[in-house]
């Protein structure tokens, strides 16, 4: 490990910091459950551990442009269904090499997008402080918690499914993120009452079971909205 870099100060005496952008990209896998995009670290510190895609902010770059650049460079992923800022962390000891302020983003994708070799989806259930570099395990936990909370008061589910889906596909996605069984009829009723969900008028190709073909649905809006904000309090 290289020696820790001391604080850098400009001619006015103002302290300056390395600023890093970190991507916590989540998807729901039918067998592995909620999964996060990671790469194996090939350099110290934390060589050999899993790390979230990250990199330094460049001087003329916007924060979210930097996020998209590092994500594409390190994993090949170029499209996200949803992106939001998660939190900024600045504990003096979070990076052993240099004091680094890090802004983490939550990204969501559906399906199985093509990735560069080396980028893998790690089940969130396997994310531990020992498996991950830096404070990345904590960030994954914060991201999963944010997603769980937002499933109940926003339409964020749109970012985890294809544009068209059956109710049982949607139910499975919700249940995977929330960690408990979700009733498909209730889910449909709640999302329709909030005007989040609408039928496409078409059906999915029959499964191998040969049952009745399932109706396809879509989200009314594919951009984040707080559902019915304060509706309960309106007169």
């Amino acid at each position: 490990m290289s020696q820790k870099t001391g604080p850098l100060r400009d001619s006015h005496g103002t302290a300056k910091y390395r600023h890093e952008i970190i991507a916590v990209v989540l998807r729901v896998d039918p067998s592995d459950g909620l999964s996060v995009l990671v790469t194996r670290r090939t350099r110290a510190p934390f060589r050999g551990r899993w790390g979230l895609p990250s990199g330094a902010l460049e001087t003329e770059e916007l924060l979210d442009d930097s996020l998209r650049r590092h994500l594409a460079d390190r994993t090949g992923l170029r499209h996200l269904n949803h992106l939001e800022q998660l939190e900024t962390r600045g504990a003096p000891d979070r990076d052993p090499a240099d004091r680094t302020i890090a802004t983490a983003y939550l990204g969501l994708v559906a399906g199985l997008p093509e990735l560069d070799p080396g980028a893998v989806w790690l089940p969130v259930a396997d994310v531990t402080g020992e498996a991950m570099a830096f404070d990345h395990a904590e960030l994954v936990s914060v991201a999963a918690e944010r997603l769980r909370a937002k499933l109940s008061y926003t339409n964020i589910g749109f970012a985890l499914v294809d544009e068209e889906f059956t109710i049982s596909q949607l139910r499975d996605t919700y249940a995977t993120v929330l960690g408990y069984r979700v009733n498909a009829t209730n889910l449909r009723r709640i999302l329709e009452r909030r005007r989040q969900l609408e039928p496409t008028g078409t059906t999915a190709p029959s499964g191998t079971g040969g049952g009745r073909p399932a109706a396809l649905f879509r989200f009314s809006t594919r951009a984040l909205q707080v559902t019915d904000p304060s509706a309960v309090l309106r007169p």
Copy 2:
């Protein structure tokens, strides 16, 4: 205006940035409505405009410790009922003097805490881009929006009222933040159903009207909780 400082790089070539912490502290005033804590700027840039309490991160300081230090130094305010990170902004042109990454926090207080001379509560309705320094008007707007949304899906109201209050005091607080009329009976029913509210068993001193003394209530928990997360989706 001093000349813009160029990017500072360490011996590894890593760019380094000034990191600033900004406080958006809100309270509800019975006459002025939702108000934000500001001071008049006495130095360039934006001399003479209103500015949010802010300051540079010191090298061994945690982000929220820095927030509390600058808030106390600039306004005298030392206690917040609630504090949460709002967002981090890093547009290269947001500070004309130097590229500055800023992490903004939302703070909430109740009543009328004692302040240093020079610190004032500005009605959020009077906050405009012309009245405020930097991107502070946008930050106030983001903070008010966050507060409005959280009133509907969390117990955040606890941070805007005294420990004990009447239902009409609580109703007025909600109505001020939300910007529309709120029915006191509905509000009580909803908060009791969510187990956010409980009676203290005592009553408020009678007002000058001499009517029946009003029952006093308190929030069950005075720490932020997402109310009934995903309860609607449980089987």
